[in-house]
Symmetry: C2
Subunit: 237 residues, 2 copies
DNA sequence: GAGTGGTCTAGACCACACG
DNA sequence: GTGTGGTCTAGACCACTCT
């Protein structure tokens, strides 16, 4: 039985209240001393909890005034958080269908091996998916994960169509950090036809390396997003 | 006379050492207690400094092991930091030329007014620039700033071609946060010819609202980046 | 066992915004 | 002046990694 740190509990409570709409708009939170009293902790612990949310763009602090829910905080859920596509869309109330494009073991190419800190040719599981939101194909996702970490990933269906849920629930792997590179690509014929858009349409390409809590690289992902869809980010300080 | 907080000094020292190459690779930092002793502060203060850098993706912490410089930390300088294009490129040793496309006062359109929390038609200064790095046109940047904040911006040359340097040094405005939306666009004829690429080439479009330290919106920016260039981001937790 | 980072306490003083 | 967040101290105990 592991104990959940107090600051994490406070943070999760606030996120839940923001996502459920209990807190919204530009509402003011109680002062840090009040929250501290409410949870029976020190102000420093409260600040630790709030800082994470400020960093994610969910809260805004103003010295001498107070701490406020950021405008559109509920819609910014995904901004700087490492959340799988499924969880994110479902939380937003969307219907997500998934078409599996690939699910098999392949030898790591040099770029994949490089990102995962493996040697070329080591076995990795390749999962390719087309995600369809409310009937519209929105994103093509290809992921590569070392077979060593998830031996049966290639042969068993994903839990809830979600790779991240599968890694977490079946293999105990929790992702903590990711580095991403974002660029614009012209749609190849194949990708254009998956999306049902003209060839050479502009697509967002995201390449991601995700690491677990021991900073071991777990997943390399490469995705293309349908024209018209956006990525939101938040920069603090 | 303003005093610089200790954690900021520690952070800036480390950033300088990383950027100058004194610290690099996956080098280990001294332990938190050692750094604390070195600066004559508490461990909590050191942790405050380090946390910011971990969040920016420059450092990696491993419990029971130590704190390390992230791989490619020097190249990730810009990842999650609110830095102007000029500063960023110059720090990377690139030559930046700037062609001014527009510098004038215009009435705020509804989308600009919305983002800046003004009423439609209020005067804003529009600055449009084409940035040329090592001879290649790389980014088209359009910014809108309320005239109230910077009355002479339209008529005076920018300091060092940098809008952010001008806002800081001439008007005392320091940017603290930004929300960005990233998408892929097909190049219009005009933008294609500025870049010297075929029409309908895929471009990265970034729309940004930047806020100052009092959380007042200062700048709306809309930029397009030449095909082949990327944006890097880091997600923590 | 020794050393590291993760969490937390119980205070303190300061800078700032607002009435 | 009052209340807010910003910074900081001087400890403490814990979980984890490595040897």
């Amino acid at each position: 039985m592991s104990t959940i740190p107090a600051h994490k509990r406070i943070r999760d409570d606030l996120v839940a209240q923001i996502e459920s709409g209990v807190l919204g708009g530009r509402e003011r939170l109680p002062g840090e001393v009040d929250i501290a009293a409410q949870y029976g902790v020190t102000r420093m612990t409260v600040r630790q909890a709030l800082s994470g949310l400020v960093n994610d763009g969910l809260l805004v602090r103003r010295r001498g005034v107070g701490t406020f829910i950021a405008t559109n905080a509920a819609q910014r859920r995904n901004m700087n958080r490492l959340v799988g596509f499924t969880e994110d869309m479902r939380a937003a109330g969307r219907t997500v269908e998934t078409r599996i494009l690939a699910q098999l073991i392949v030898p790591a190419t040099s770029d994949i091996a490089d990102a995962l800190e493996l040697t070329v040719g080591v076995h990795v599981t390749h999962v390719g998916r087309l995600r369809i939101v409310d009937g519209t194909p929105v994103i093509i996702q290809h992921s590569w994960v070392p077979c060593e970490l998830c031996p049966d990933l290639w042969s068993e269906p994903l839990i809830d169509d979600s790779l991240y849920a599968t890694l977490r629930d079946r293999y105990g792997i929790v992702l903590r950090r990711a580095d991403q590179r974002i660029a614009a690509d012209a749609a190849t014929g194949e990708r254009a036809s998956l999306f049902g858009v003209p060839a050479r349409s502009p697509l967002l390409r995201v390449e991601r390396v995700a690491l677990d809590d021991r900073n071991l690289p777990v997943e390399v992902a490469r995705s293309w997003t349908r024209p018209g869809y956006e990525i939101a980010t938040h920069i603090e300080r």
